[in-house]
Amino acid sequence: MKSKQPSHLRSIVAHIVLIILSFMCLFFFYILFINATRSHADLQKGFSALPGNYLLKNLSNVANDGTFPMLRGILNSLIVSGCSAAICTYFSALTAYGLYAYNFKLKKVAFTFIMAILVMPTQVTAMGFLRLITNMGMYDSLLPLILPSIASPAVFYFMYSYLQSSLPLSLVEASRIDGCGEFRTFNQIVLPIMKPAIAVQAIFSFVGCWNNYFVPALVIQSKDKMTVPILIATLRGADYMNFDMGKIYTMILVAIVPIIIVYLCLSKFIIAGVTLGGVKE
């Protein structure tokens, strides 16, 4: 009761800080948007705080460029990021559950091992990776962009930590007593409990995958399989003599719309997931 007054003050501080931070975050989107609405010549003149009227022209420039399959690129990116996020979260949860809920000989070894590889920078193995998938005949296909995300140590660790704090083993016991199979227990009891964690990681891995340039640039060759970041790089780099910054900003703008949509959907889901927390103790 004592804390009523300070709490009021803190609330004001909190609002101010939040507004400043939000302003900084949105400011860059605003600039991106402004730049996407201006023509290349306009952009060269310098910055302006007001949008131009060139957005539609830029958009149609991007969409109608036959050598530049924007829609196809977005579709590819959606497939890759969607599949990656799905299998990454599912298998990480599965692995985390396997290590959390069961006791077996190699458990400690397996856990330590995953923790060790958690720290491995992706760039480190890039060249070996490229050679490997070339030998496997997966060069220039979307599969090598998706399949490796089954093994995501970081996501695994998050899931594991989450299980530690939110899944009592008694619940698993109970479901066994009810005669549930192990997979069913996982899919019907454990997964729903992990929903918030899954939603969080699904967003992160979706975004990570969507924005990944490094691996796709190594693996993808043909135009109809390019993902959005490669297309943007192509747009920027292919023809430095007549590149069009307006087009590039528009492309970036177009590229972030899908992830914002996915993000908005999932962010609702996180909130919803948390209210499911009745099973917690």
Binding site: L21, E182, P229
Partner: protein, 317 residues
Amino acid sequence: MKSKHKKVDYSKWGYIFILPFFVSFFIFSFIPLVDTIRYSFFEYYRSGIKEIGPNFVGMENYISLLGSDMLKYAANTLILWIIGFIPQIVIALVLAEWFVDARLKIHGTQFFKVVIYLPNLIMASAFAMLFFTMFSTNGPVNSILMSIGLTSQPIDFLGSAMGTRSLVGFMNFLMWFGNSTIMLMAAIMGISPDVFEASELDGCNSFQRFFYITLPQIRPILAYTLITAIIGGLQMFDVPQILTNGQGTPDRTSMTLIMFLNSHLKSRNYGMAGALSVYLFIVSGILCFFVYRMTNNDDPDGSKAAAKKAKKQQRRG
């Protein structure tokens, strides 16, 4: 405790559940990793389109790396990381706490939650491009500063080591604080409301509650955030790469380890890149082991956390 014995019957399920992970890891990471390590002992690079090597040279790559500026780049990486990470984790913790604190009655929580994560959605390279434009000598930031009279001469942000480093740090902060906030928020929301209610009844103020209840309870996720941030920091690449055009200008003061690795990969120097990768691997391993120990004490497999949970349940019951 009785349940532990019963679980032995299920041990094969443990193997089955973790199998896909390990198969995928073995194929897509382990084989390439072995390749990388193997080549680190070789002289192996491209000259033009001719391949030189592989010739076995033992530890030569490792030794010549130690003689290079590698340690300087490691220091750069650390500095860049700290500039971004400290504000990131502090603000993320504070925000996460605010968001779940019903007493603050924050309006538009949903809006703020959505907004702070947005910068993470833009590609790092695109973000760096925007920054580059904004902070260039005749960019909008300088014209704003000049028009409100804060400075008479345009400031050459990217021309000084401090300026470039701050910008990189600031960008990393902006891109990742929302991410951390959401993660920590999910962790805090995972804490049983009973604990908070109890603390309220005991007359805890917000600070006490934050330090004595929230922090210890979210330790696993906090450790996770810390570890992923360290890995992310070690891997810092896109932002300084684009902002400084791959040069780490001025005078290589913002050259990170991965940018260094990248320049070896660019010259197709598999041997040197391999050796550098092994160094990176060892360093990040040590760092994470340290952090993990620090945050989790002696609980490498979570058995202690389970025991704690059991105890808590006992207390409750």
